[in-house]
């Protein structure tokens, strides 16, 4: 039961982390280190 709880909480937690990462990387400034100009 505890494993199911950890699965649900970690899924939501990691998803939130990924969404923040997406926002940072999709910001033009965040991408400027990869794409020139």
């Amino acid at each position: 039961m505890k494993s199911v709880f950890i699965f649900i909480v970690s899924s939501i937690g990691f998803l939130a982390f990924f969404l923040v990462m997406d926002a940072l990387l999709l910001n033009a400034q965040g991408l400027s280190f990869i794409f020139r100009g």
């Binding site: 494993s3 699965f7 998803l15």
Partner: protein, 591 residues
């Protein structure tokens, strides 16, 4: 029999030295022009006519250069890559104090030693064909890159010297500080080899994205600008990673070849382990390769939108579909090999029931990846459909769908690898169940995020985000791989190890290793053609026009035939090298 192989090496070594001497002599003869930048270079790129291209009866110049370049690149990729993981294995062997790493590293190097001579010979052949068929282009390139040819020759000498010291000194330098000195020689060998490739990459990338010259091709005198053109860094990274993957795949095929012919269980166990190690390196290097490819493509677009569109949106787009089929086949083969590996341990059987689900996801991703955007239709079919695009499958032909499919394919291949590792041991830590739940949460969140990025940013926002969303997709995949490996490592501290028998693999699994090597070879040839051909009618893009009778883009069918014939010739030579390697191994076993 060992003497015949050594005699061959002795015979080839002078050839190698001779080619190096030719290179140096050529550089010295042109030495003055490198630094004086006389009227020749000031006048810019020459404007050529058909008569400026020497004709040799019964020989097609472009085809001769193409084949020589292709052979040289395949061999060069192999010989640059093998010493990298030979060195890695040697260091692991010293740190872990396990002789088997040393033995397999030496065997890897022995397989590649003949390939070194062939790399030098095909390199010499490439230089000769270029000088014969494209003298004015070579003259122009040398007027800019002259000093770098000297540098190339020096690296070449350095690499040859360190290679032979590394190989022939392996047994004499096997104990104490001499072993560390030997590792130092290996490091020098790899540094020289990589530097050599970086120099050659500058010439190739300058032809695609010239820098340091004006619109008429007049060299401004800044050689560093010409070297560090738009594509130089991404090409260096892409080739460096791809070479490791390629070298791993070829050595994996060698191990498979030897496994299939193994007479004893010990031999089978040795070659099974060798095949596994090599394929692990190949697949490990393959995982980040698409990301280096994204960077390379982004720089092509940044330099010239036109060139980028020719690459991805024009006729060459069909070769990306062929690429998808070959890479998809490669992933299926790699997964199949891992699944067969579950059988090395009785504990692995518990994971077999998951194989069908993983196979389904990988096959579905594979189908999305090679779905074309535009269809080749008969007039009747086009009328019936009313458009060039399929109403339901059309969106799957766009890059966001393909990026999503590739990342999911990578994640599920990684999942196969995790299950394969678990087939060998069971964790004993109290929190093992929670660790697995955490990993499952990580995978679930990552898949949701990758699909969200692909669908929302790929189809419902502007085109800037369509391209840019691939970066967080990649970042998600990399994060999952690293985080999962960390959790896995902590969870398996003090784990119970199961009976694990190397060599307990069905013969058919070895054909998967051979398929991986063939796919890699074919893929490099086809995609190398695309990269080079997007220059279209230019020798140096937008600076120096190709006026030869062959200044046209060949049909995809023709290019595919040339590359396929090249692949067959190259792999036939590789089989010959394997045979020689086998003779060496047998002779050593007899001693």
């Amino acid at each position: 029999m060992a003497y015949s192989r050594r005699s061959l090496i002795k015979l080839l070594s002078p050839c190698l030295t001779l080619i190096a001497l030719v290179l140096v002599a050529y550089s010295i003869v042109n030495f003055q022009s490198y630094f004086s930048w006389g009227p020749e270079s000031i006048s810019g790129a020459p404007v050529l006519g058909q008569g400026d291209y020497p004709l040799v009866s019964h020989v097609n110049g472009r085809l001769a250069v193409w084949m020589a370049a292709q052979m040289h690149l395949w061999f060069a990729a192999f010989v640059l890559a093998v010493p990298i993981f030979v060195l890695m294995l040697e260091v692991i062997g010293v740190v872990k104090k396990e002789k088997r790493y040393d033995r397999v590293a030496y065997e890897f190097l022995r397989v590649s030693i003949t390939a070194f001579s062939l790399t030098a010979i095909t390199g010499g052949l490439l230089l000769l064909t270029l000088l014969v068929f494209y003298p004015d282009l070579m003259k122009y390139l040398l007027s800019i890159f002259g000093p770098t040819t000297l540098l190339y020759a020096l690296f070449f000498f350095f690499e040859s010297a360190s290679l032979y010291t590394y190989y022939y000194g392996w047994k004499r330098m096997s104990e104490g500080w001499l072993k560390w000195a030997h590792i130092g020689v290996g490091l020098a060998l790899n540094s020289a080899g990589t530097a050599l490739m970086f120099v050659a990459n500058a010439w190739v990338t300058f032809m695609m994205t010239p820098d340091g010259v004006d619109a008429a091709g007049v060299f401004r005198g800044d050689l560093w600008a010409a070297v560090t053109n738009h594509l130089w860094s991404p090409m260096n990274l892409h080739r460096f990673i791809a070479n490791i993957a390629y070298g791993g795949s070829i050595v994996g095929a060698y191990a498979a070849y030897r496994f299939l012919g193994a007479a004893t269980d010990d031999e089978k166990a040795h070659y099974d382990w060798m095949g596994y190690t090599a394929s692990l390196i190949a697949i490990g290097a393959l995982l980040p390769l698409p990301f280096a490819g994204y960077w390379l493509t982004a720089e092509i677009y940044a330099f010239s939108q036109q060139m980028g569109i020719t690459l991805m949106g024009g006729v060459f787009a069909w070769l990306f579909i062929v690429q998808a089929v070959l890479i998809g086949a490669l992933f299926l083969a790699a997964n199949y090999y891992l699944w067969c590996g579950f059988g090395r341990s009785p504990a692995g059987e518990r994971y077999l029931r998951y194989v069908k689900y993983i196979a389904f996801v990988i096959a579905a991703s594979f189908l999305v990846w090679f779905t074309p955007h535009t269809l080749i239709l008969t007039p009747q079919e086009a009328r019936a459909l009313g458009t060039q695009y399929h109403p339901y499958l059309g969106p799957l032909g766009l890059m966001p769908a393909k990026n999503t499919a590739v990342n999911i394919m990578l994640l599920f291949t990684f999942l196969s690898f995790i299950l394969y590792r678990r087939a060998q041991r069971t964790p004993t830590v109290a929190w093992a169940g929670y660790g697995k739940a955490l990993q499952a949460g990580l995978f679930t969140a990552a898949i949701v995020n990758i699909v969200f990025l692909g669908v929302y940013y790929g189809y419902f926002t502007n085109s800037l985000y369509k391209v840019a969303s691939s970066v967080p997709q990649v970042a998600t995949t990399i994060f999952v791989i690293i985080a999962c490996l960390v959790i896995e490592g902590l969870m398996h501290r003090g784990a119970t190890k199961h009976d694990f028998t190397w060599g307990r693999m069905p013969g058919r699994s070895q054909y998967a290793l051979i398929l991986i090597a063939v796919s890699f070879t074919w893929l490099m040839g086809l995609m190398g053609f695309v990269r080079s051909a997007i220059r279209q009618q230019w020798h140096v893009y937008s600076v120096m026009k190709d006026a030869s009778p062959d200044a046209f883009t060949p049909s995809i069918a023709y290019a595919a035939k040339v590359v396929s014939v090249g692949t067959i010739i190259f792999l036939s030579i590789v089989v010959f090298i394997f045979w020689l390697g086998g003779l060496g191994a047998k002779a050593e076993a007899d001693e």
